[in-house]
Structures are given as structure tokens and as C-alpha cells.
């Protein structure tokens, strides 16, 4: 039984050492290079006495970034990827939480990192990836590893203003990769076109199957997602055949008539995550690629990224939603009511996940972990944590799980998971703000911020950019004389949302 994700790499390097593993089009690494460099990094960590520790990776999107992740695991540690464009304030919150001893940067990001309040050591990838591998030490680390030990922490938006670090172990990732590979039928001929940034868990879908099968992943540079024709040309140039992307990346291509000029002709597998795929756009893809396999993937970071799937097997009318489908093998979905009881057939309930896909919890945050990872309310005989997603779902008459809505103020915007509360906390911290409330206009896909205060909306946007990532900056910022309140003194979000949609 496989208990360590590095075994994917250890095996494949003997089968196809010289094959290209990861590339960005201009620069690439073969499986042998990935193996050797990750072992150098593992050895460096061992020699530095860093073991079972979180190690920060602060690098731009590059094949070396992935190799840094693998090197950290090889050395018996877990990686914490951080977006190099994230505002310094937010990075500070993360660094303070994990208190890492080491940060791996590239030549460019190390200059940014020098400005951080960070007590650990800063190194560049190139400095530590040539060390001669200590085979004995690495073997011992490998032999002593347990599959319940973490391999990464990724940070997601937190409603109190502090990002939450989701900790995930080998076992959950192996379970996910095996199931995903079965469903999407990856093999050695798979050529992935990666869209997700490397600091989110979405990259699991490409990184580990690439190692498992000896496939190839092209990391598509972010700039291509601004220019649809260039993007499709890139996909064709490298004969990319498998796309696991957020919905907004697919619609960016189909919505602007790109297919009149160019079609992604080698693509045979399309998996989409994170949002509801508008049927009008979905049909445009089906029209140009009628024989491709289309799979909707669903799941939170706390369920190892994806834990349910639906392979599209019928036509959908424009007002229908593509279902979430069913869980992967070895995962179960419970639909629970407020009292923790299973809802009757066809009724709505909170989607709760049980199984190996449930992650370890939130790093260094027992309180938030206890709120979301709870004892299975259906029994009290032995400890068993389930994860409450906060998503409301129901089963349709075909027995397929469907997403209905959110219980709270978490939204999906441009494929990113955002707590509106985190935006409000950051607005309220600024000088000259009396009150703030954020709503999401899900018709136009816009975050709308209403506030009362002495600041002008333009200045407010500029200040917010210092503390929030780009995708969390409200699309419209509107100053009000007063924020509408409900009769029991709460912010009237229904009225605000109506105001936003009428605008």
C-alpha cells in the first residue's frame, strides 16, 4: 500500500527519466531533474536540522516551484506556498501563524521577501538544489514517514480577517489522486495545461498525476489568461489535451468568440471546478469539442480540494445547473439539518463530508478546527470527524447531488473562495470608515462594497489593495449616508443586494 506521495516520483523516475515532467513552455524539468533537485533540497533541509516543519515556498510560477514542494516532502517536511503578489500585510498574518524556519524564494521574490518580518532563513531555490543527495538520510526519513503526516498547508479566506491554514496529509492526497485518475482516465499520454496558481490546492490535480503516470504538465503563464486567442494557441502548440480549470477560465475563451479564430484541437478531457458553469458557455465548448469528456468537480480545500464529481451525460437547458454528482469512492456525503439529523430524500441540507478526503484541520487554530470539523452527529461511539462545508445541497430525482446555496457569506468569485467578512474586517480597520457591508451580485459576478465614512471611494480602493489580494478588491465601492438595517439591528443584506443588482 502506498503511504507516501513521493513514491509516485521514486517509481516514475526509473521508467521515464528523460521525459519532460513540468514546463512553462520556455523552461522545463525532466523527471530525472525533478527527482535529483528535490533530493538535493531534501538533503539541504536534513543538513539544516529542519524536519517535520512547515517550509514556506515564495516563488513565481515555474517548474522549480513544484520541485521545491517535492523537495520539502522528500526532506520530511510540509510546504506552505504563498502567492508572490499577495499584499505584505496578509503574508505577515500567515508567517506569524506558521513561524517557519525557512523560506525558499527565487531570484526575484527574495528581494520582496527581505522586507517581511520573518525570523527564519531566506534562501533561493538555486542555492539549495545542487547539494549532493544524502541517500542514507533521505531513505531513513522516507522509512519513518507516516501517511497521516502533513505534506502542505494552503491558506484560504477567513471571515474574521485572518486567513485559515488548511493542513493536508499524504493519505488524503493519495486517496484523491487515485480516485481522480480513475474518473478522468489519466495516463502517460496525458498533457495537462495548468491554469491554477501554484499556491492553491487545485494544482494537486496536475502535479501528482503527472508523477503517477509519467505525464507532462505545462504551467500556462498567467498573462495568457487575459488574451484568449494567445491562450488557445499555447494549448495547441504543446498539444495539451487535458484541462482542469476554474469555470471563469473556460468562459473567458468561449464568451468572446475565440472559437471563430482558433479551436483547442487536441483537448479531450475537460474538468471544471469552483463555480457553476453557465450552460450557454458550456454548450459552446461542447459544440467545438463534441467528443471530449466533461466532468464537473466539486469540493472544498478541507475535502482535499475535490471530493465529488459528475460526468456530463445529457443535455442541459439554459436555466439548469450541472449537478455536483456523487462522491469519490471512499468518501461519503451527508446532508444534515440544523440538529445534525439526515434530511429526508429530496430535502435541502448542509453538505458534510466524511472519509479519508477530510483533511487534518486548520493549522495552529484549534477553535476554528473544532467549529468546522465535528464529531459525526449520527453516532457517538468512537471519534470520527466530519467536515461541515457550509454549502447547502439536495439530491435531485435522479439521485444526483446538487449545490443550492451557501449558509454564510462565503462566495466564489473568479474561481476564488472569498469570505465577504474578511473584506469587511479590512475595510473597517481603515481610518475614516464608520461602517461597511459587502454583498455579492451573482448576476453580474461583482463584489459590491457599501460604506459610511469620510473617505472617498477611490482612496478606499487604494488602501484596500495594501491588505487584500487583488481578487478580493470590490468591483464597485459605493458611499452611503447610512447602511440599511433590519428591525433587529443587523445590516440588511437583502436590501443591499437588491440595490447592487439594480444599479
Amino acid at each position: 500500500m502506498q503511504t507516501n506521495v513521493i513514491d509516485y516520483l521514486n517509481e516514475i523516475v526509473h521508467k521515464v527519466p528523460e521525459k519532460l515532467a513540468f514546463s512553462n513552455g520556455e523552461e522545463g524539468l525532466s523527471f530525472r531533474e525533478v527527482y535529483e533537485q528535490s533530493r538535493s533540497i531534501g538533503t539541504y533541509l536534513h543538513n539544516s536540522g529542519i524536519y517535520k516543519e512547515p517550509v514556506v515556498v515564495f516563488m513565481n510560477k515555474h517548474p522549480k516551484t513544484i520541485t521545491a514542494f517535492l523537495g520539502i516532502i522528500t526532506g520530511g517536511n510540509y510546504y506552505v506556498p504563498i502567492d508572490s503578489e499577495m499584499p505584505e500585510v496578509r503574508i505577515g498574518l500567515i508567517l506569524e501563524n506558521i513561524k517557519s524556519k525557512l523560506m525558499i524564494c527565487d531570484e526575484e521574490t527574495i528581494e520582496i521577501a527581505k522586507k517581511f518580518k520573518f525570523d527564519g532563513k531566506l534562501v533561493t531555490y538555486d542555492e539549495i538544489s545542487n547539494e549532493k543527495a544524502d541517500d542514507g538520510a533521505l531513505q531513513e526519513i522516507h522509512d519513518n514517514a507516516l501517511d497521516i503526516e502533513p505534506i502542505y498547508i494552503v491558506f484560504t479566506s477567513g471571515s474574521t480577517g485572518i486567513p485559515k491554514g488548511v493542513v493536508v496529509c499524504h493519505r488524503s492526497v493519495i486517496d484523491f489522486i487515485e480516485n481522480l485518475s480513475d474518473v478522468l482516465e489519466f495516463n502517460e499520454n496525458t498533457v495537462f495545461g495548468n491554469q491554477a496558481p501554484l499556491y492553491v490546492d487545485a494544482i494537486l490535480k496536475e502535479v501528482y498525476p503527472t508523477l503517477k503516470f509519467g505525464a507532462t504538465t505545462y504551467l500556462i503563464p498567467k498573462e495568457y489568461f487575459m488574451f484568449p486567442i494567445k491562450l488557445v494557441e499555447f494549448i495547441n502548440e504543446y498539444k495539451i489535451n487535458t484541462l482542469c480549470w476554474v469555470v471563469s477560465a473556460f468562459t473567458m475563451i468561449s464568451a468572446f468568440g475565440t472559437f471563430k479564430t482558433v479551436v483547442p484541437k487536441f483537448v479531450h478531457t475537460i474538468a471544471f471546478v469552483s463555480e457553476v458553469f453557465p450552460i450557454k458557455q458550456f454548450n459552446r465548448w461542447k459544440e467545438v469539442l463534441p467528443n471530449a469528456k466533461y466532468v464537473n468537480l466539486y469540493g472544498p480545500t478541507e475535502g482535499t480540494g475535490v471530493c465529488c464529481y459528475y460526468e456530463v451525460d445529457r443535455e442541459f437547458s439554459l436555466e439548469e445547473r450541472i449537478p455536483v454528482g456523487k462522491p469519490f469512492k471512499n468518501t461519503q456525503i451527508l446532508l444534515l439539518d440544523e440538529e445534525g439529523k439526515q434530511v429526508p430524500k429530496g430535502a435541502e441540507g448542509e453538505i458534510c463530508i466524511r472519509g479519508t478526503s477530510v483533511v487534518l484541520g486548520y493549522y495552529n487554530d484549534a477553535e476554528k478546527t473544532a467549529n468546522s470539523f465535528v464529531q459525526n452527529p449520527l453516532h457517538s461511539f468512537y471519534p470520527e470527524a466530519i467536515y461541515k462545508t457550509g454549502d447547502i445541497g439536495r439530491y435531485n430525482e435522479r439521485g444526483e447531488l446538487e449545490f443550492v446555496s451557501r449558509k454564510d457569506y462565503q462566495i466564489k468569485h473568479m474561481g476564488q473562495r472569498i469570505e465577504l467578512g474578511e473584506i469587511e474586517v479590512n475595510v473597517n480597520m481603515l481610518d475614516g470608515i464608520k461602517q461597511a457591508a459587502c454583498v455579492y451580485d451573482d448576476k453580474k459576478n461583482k463584489i459590491v462594497l457599501y460604506y459610511v465614512g469620510t473617505v472617498e471611494s477611490g482612496d478606499l480602493a487604494v488602501s484596500l489593495k495594501a491588505s487584500l489580494p487583488r481578487y478580493m478588491i470590490p468591483n464597485n465601492i459605493i458611499k452611503l449616508e447610512q447602511i440599511p438595517m433590519t428591525s433587529n439591528g443587523k445590516i440588511d443584506r437583502v436590501t443591499l443586494k437588491n440595490m447592487a443588482q439594480k444599479k
Binding site: 498567467k222 498573462e223 489568461f225 487575459m226 488574451f227 484568449p228 486567442i229 494567445k230 471563469s248 473567458m252 475563451i253 468572446f256 468568440g257 475565440t258 471563430k260 479564430t261 473568479m414 453580474k444 471611494s457 477611490g458 482612496d459 480602493a461 487604494v462 489593495k465 487583488r470 481578487y471 468591483n475 464597485n476
Partner: protein
């Protein structure tokens, strides 16, 4: 042009769109912005910027973008 500058300034109040000619080259605009701009331009000017025009040259400056909008308006 006024209306276009308004759209752009709502996205990035700190940028001087009247003079900047490297909006793409200097990574001032990102993919979120491009999509917002196309959708706002569609609402305000009633022109559709299709894929063949979504290229760096047309988005590097407000001037270039405005020229594109005028060209598309003439065609309709």
C-alpha cells in the same frame, strides 16, 4: 473617452490612465480587469470586443482602447 476613463479609474483609482501606455507590459491590468473592462464597455458603449481584438496592443493604453471602441462602433 470620459466614460472609458471612468470605467478604468473605478478599477485602478491610483493609475493615471490618460498618460500610461504600458498597462499590459507593466502588469497594471490583470485578467480580472480585462474581463471587467470588456463587460463594462459592452454595457456603456454597446460594442462587443471579440477575441480577435483582445490582444495586448489594444489594452496597453486608454487611448488604444478608445480607438478600438470607435472602430467597433463604426462597424456596427
Amino acid at each position: 473617452m470620459e466614460q472609458l476613463l471612468e470605467i478604468l479609474e473605478e478599477l485602478h483609482p491610483e493609475v493615471d490612465f490618460e498618460s500610461c501606455e504600458t498597462l499590459i507590459d507593466d502588469k497594471i491590468l490583470d485578467s480580472f480587469d480585462i474581463i471587467s473592462i470588456i463587460s463594462e464597455v459592452n454595457d456603456v458603449f454597446d460594442v462587443t470586443i471579440s477575441a480577435e481584438y483582445i490582444i495586448p496592443d489594444n489594452f496597453n493604453s486608454a487611448k488604444a482602447l478608445y480607438a478600438l471602441i470607435e472602430k467597433l462602433e463604426d462597424e456596427e
